[in-house]
């Protein structure tokens, strides 16, 4: 197994492990998701049709409206939320939503996070220190 560590700003939420779902696209829970089915539902989104449930979403930035702040917690209450969120840079809504929902989130990395991580990578997310470890070759 090889491990690569990426450094971001100190984040929000608990330490978690999981599998990455990556795109060079932006994100809003209101604009992009069918939250009942747990899939990306906006036809123009790079992850259209894919399930985000329990995945570590790796995207460029947050966009659009303020609803995500409530929606992350609502999704978590039904076990239909992403496991964690990684962005190049977020807006306040995403940070507020992650704090309210208790979902792990980190941004402001020293690299373009959407290019450093690939879909299917196993990740360890440590918001307290802002570290993300890519564990390639792990079972």
């Amino acid at each position: 197994m090889t491990a690569v560590t990426l450094q971001g700003h100190v984040g929000i939420g608990p330490r978690v492990e999981g599998i990455a779902l990556v795109a060079q696209d932006n994100f809003s829970a209101r604009y992009d998701l069918d939250r009942i089915k747990g899939v990306f539902s906006r036809p123009g989104h790079a992850l259209f049709g894919q399930s985000y449930v329990d995945r570590i979403l790796v995207l460029n930035t947050a966009k659009g409206g303020v609803a995500t702040a409530w929606m992350l917690r609502e999704m978590a209450s039904r076990n239909m939320a992403p496991r964690a969120l990684l962005f190049n840079r977020v807006n306040p809504i995403m940070a507020q939503g992650a704090a309210f929902a208790g979902v792990a989130m980190i941004d402001r990395f020293d690299v373009d996070i959407t290019r450093a991580i690939e879909t299917g990578d196993r990740l360890l997310i440590e918001p307290e220190t802002g570290k993300v470890t890519i564990m390639r070759g792990a079972g």
Binding site: V66, W70, E74, S77, R78, R89, A95
Partner: protein
Amino acid sequence: MRLNEEEKAMLAGEHGEPRRWALQHQLQVASFFDAEDFVPVGQAHIMADTESLGESGVEFLESLARHPADQRRVRVPTITDPRGVDFRRYKDIGQKQWMADLEARAIVAFEALGILMTDTCINYQTIMPPVLGEHMAYGDTGVVIYSNSVLGARTNFEGGPSALAAALTGRTPRYGFHLDRNRRGTHRFVVEFQPQDLVEWGALGGLIGRKAGSYWSVPVIEGITSVPGSDALKHFGAAMASYGSIGMFHMIGVTPEAPDAKAPWDGAAPEPEIIGRQELERFCSEYAAFGEKVDVVVFSAPQLSLVEMQALADLLDGRKVHPETTLLAVTSPEVKSASDRMGLTARIESSGALVLSGVCFYQSYAREMAEVNGWRRLLTNSAKLVNIISGYGYVPALASMDACVESAIAGHIVGERRAG
């Protein structure tokens, strides 16, 4: 993070559990954005439609509302963004009883917290606009960008939980647009044409939003030769915030922090990006659908001003909406009340259109309405709405208010965009 004695007491629970939760939540956000202290706010504005809240969000509000009055009541004037249900009309548009029931529970909880149910995203036109330099905790992107840019107030995007936290503590972490350094220009645009109507203002906002593309960008717009009205800047800002997550812009000679071309910049202004009419036309053509059957025509996002309601009434006078098309005009309770009194509601609804109050289309269970009513092709003059609504299963089209009305009457999308 520096805390004063009152904030330390709140964090220790001495002001009750709601304020302890609120300060704890705010500290997490403050830490994330490296805020050094709190700033008092004049008002809070909470986005909390029940489609976003869900059962868990309503239960959270109800849990706060069970605390003693001195612990649960907000400390600054606090108002609400549009809700998910208009109790007068929800059955007419296929919304379910459970949606109304959940909405009613949320309202009971909000009122127990001392929150004013204004149910509007145009509070700057209808309730109490902020003043230059006033710090706020506003929770609607259109409200935030208008307040920061046009009125010179200071607010970040405050999602529902954070706006509620600010209401309970009377303050918000000092980061983002509360700080001078984040209000300076970052991107320069020169517009080579003058938008002719509200849909063009919205489209221009959407274009700039796409280009600037981040909450931390502050576009500076040159080339606008006459001062746009409030509705024009409403559509312009709302679309820019929607497409780009932008929270503030400067318009040279129009907005208060950009009295001249040098004012928004710390040093020399960067080279501009030129935006010509052709680019605007290309943007609009992405949402063109000439000749197609239209299921629902929506005037919303943002809610209509009284002036827009009058324009719509003028266009609909003596005419009938096509029987296979629904026309929805969505406004705030204050504007609805005025429209009732002035006869505008009756003039609009005599065409077969429906006036909805206190809601916004995309915050009102849009997916469920599409399924129940068989709505797919949606036509609107809101650039913001066409950006949002495709994720809810709609195929959106964009046209002027005039062309939207003509299409609603014909039952299919007609006409070139015209001023109106």
